[in-house]
Subunit: 401 residues, 2 copies
């Protein structure tokens, strides 16, 4: 079922949908036969919501595939994460909250160290401190090339986001990073005619950067890779006739939400309480809210089982505030699993709960991986959640007479 | 999710995967409400493994589709069984352990009976005894045609595998079997230029066979159909970066495994014990093992419920030997169902168990059709099992950042 099939059946409405994404929600028990993080957490409010919800497990990309946050989010937002791929360059720019536009081509940049002959000694310039990167970025911003603009945004240590903006730019480009030392940075060239102007301008930029950085140590040169244009995905406004808002602390999630057409809401602080306050404050202005919880994933990545349990319990404590707003449809789920025993994202399906007054019950009063295995949604592709949510919100017309 | 998407994410490793395929594993109860063969079998070792595994039911080809052994195996091996079809000619050759190569075109052959005018009297020559077919095959092997080689391998009764080998052969050919009596065998012709040489050579072969067999009764002529080239499927080595081995007694399964790139291991005898001994003996030389159990299917086909139960119990008794090897991932499943009440293959999904230390529990301590219905893998396409197994074995990289 492709998006255009869905789009044809969309009907406007006044109903409101809230999607709470706990990043990396799915987990594993510490010992075989034990409980996962979500099953360990004491979640009276989520359990009570589960009793009025349909439960299931979402597969972000496909069986066995571990999803990054980009594809994981695109999938739960309703897009096919293989068809709509977000390149590394764009992710880097989105991650520092850069507002990528349709005239932009983004890349991942590294400060690096070269010897007097220009051969690479260290591709990461000794992972130089972020503060030095910030100073060097200011220097790079002084570079001008006729007809285009450049943006340099430090990320962390030696990494920066690189964006070139102008008319007629393309991203069919080779990379300047040879991925090994002892050789010089590569000259970039275009793989398609539509990218020739970009190659010329970027090569000029790199030549000027080489001169500017020549006397800096250890970061006396740059490498660029992962060139990507602004990823075009159908926006929620046209696709689903929704007026969507995003509540997220971290740049990358704000960025992906922006690609889908969501308005990024201001936050007073970066706590969960601030996020739910933003939901309350903006309740009347939008009909779709995506609220992102980062710390579940952070704890999972750190191997902090107890921490992840605690974050889930903190989310649980906010559920009453959410339900007091009387949303028509609530989705609570994740973009992928991040079991703390693995200290990384994983391929395991992700628990999901879909509340609406039209939910067909599961006879289950618990929100957890095993409970969701027996839920009425079954195990389903993550991209199927939005159509189901739209149906529960009365936003999808009948197909056929 | 196609295979090239998967292939891009493969990472090499040292982990080991074992896939035990009980042919025709899925069953049905003798009476409604009763237990299936697998549920009846006393399987303490499989049950204990189930408690540490993810359970599910595999659909070999699609809903309602009864799979033959060829597509059933391709699917559980990770290939789309509709995209990668193995033609009848190739299956016949694989079934007699013939090592099909890339210069070969294979067909199914029949000995038949014709009258003095050459019109067909019996397309199967009275299902003549296999021993007579073997004698006639020796005669056919004396036929020579310039520039190509022929191989004639008796199968059973009137059937034989026919292979033509040479440069520039194709399989876009009509068949010589008119599929009715009272008419002569058809002259073969090519449907594409790439198969013209083959048509000429095969017609010459048939003309010579007619003369050679003229005085034999009842088998005085041959029919050929189902021409197929060597089926090219991506091999496990390149596709999954695995070094795979197959343990199987019967030719067809060895043949399909060979197509996937598996090394066929020698067996001391043809018992289950011999098969598990081969697994132990070769444990250090490979990282993927496919072990095929034929008798479950044979008993199913014979309507022998009790026999099928006993074979499953015999497999259960070998599980300790398998687990003593400390495999990282174990799959126990089937290529299709063969319920003994049906005495044939069936469309019913097939129980599957996937053991790994990263298995998310089901809270189920039993391996059977009903238990698997509640498993954490759900009901899934058989071809999804390999990606999940590779993920559990740490062999798949993350998709997207």
């Amino acid at each position: 079922m492709d998006l255009s099939f869905l789009q044809d059946k969309i009907i406007s409405g006044q109903t409101k949908i809230v999607m709470i994404i706990m990043d990396g929600l799915g987990g594993l028990p510490l010992e075989p036969g034990g409980k996962t993080e979500l099953e360990t957490a004491i979640t009276p409010n989520l359990n009570s919501l589960a009793a009025q919800s349909e439960l299931g497990l979402t597969v972000p990309v496909g069986p066995g595939i571990t999803a990054g946050s980009g594809p994981g989010h695109l999938a739960i937002f309703g897009y096919d994460p293989i068809e709509y791929e977000i390149g590394r360059g764009a992710l880097e720019a989105l991650g520092v909250d850069f507002e990528l536009g349709i005239k932009d081509v983004a890349a991942r940049g590294n400060f690096c160290t070269v010897d007097t002959k220009g051969n690479l000694l260290d591709r990461r310039a000794g992972r130089l401190p972020t503060e030095i990167s910030q100073e060097l970025a200011k220097l790079l911003r002084t570079i001008k090339v006729e007809g285009v603009e450049f943006f340099i945004e430090p990320v962390k240590e030696h990494r920066f986001a690189f964006v070139i903006r102008g008319q007629g730019l393309g991203d069919a480009l080779t990379e300047t990073d040879p991925l090994k030392t002892g050789v010089p940075a590569l000259k970039m060239h275009a793989l398609r005619p539509d990218s020739e102007k970009t190659a010329i301008c970027v090569n000029q930029f790199v030549d000027k950067a080489r001169l500017l950085l020549a006397n800096k140590q250890p970061a006396n040169m740059i490498l660029l890779r992962g060139f990507t244009k602004f990823p075009k995905i159908p926006m929620y406004q046209e696709l689903f006739a929704l007026n969507p808002a995003a509540i997220a602390v971290n740049g990358m999630y704000r960025g992906v939400a922006r690609l889908a057409g969501m308005t990024i809401l201001d936050l007073k602080g970066d706590t969960l309480i601030d996020e739910f306050s933003a939901l309350e404050k903006n309740w009347n202005s939008f009909d779709f809210f995506y609220l992102h919880v980062k710390q579940t994933d952070t704890c999972g990545e750190n191997g902090d089982f107890t921490g992840k349990v605690r974050v889930i319990e903190e989310v649980d404590a906010q559920i009453a505030r959410l339900m007091a707003l009387k949303p028509d449809v609530v989705i609570v789920g994740g973009d992928h699993s991040t079991p703390s025993v693995l200290k990384s994202h994983s391929w395991h399906p992700v628990p999901v709960l879909l509340y609406s007054k039209y939910a067909r019950g599961n006879g289950i009063t618990e929100f957890g991986e095993q409970a969701c295995t027996h839920g009425s949604l079954g195990i389903l592709p993550a991209k199927a959640i939005m159509p189901i949510a739209l149906a529960h919100a009365g936003r999808l017309a009948k197909y056929g007479a």
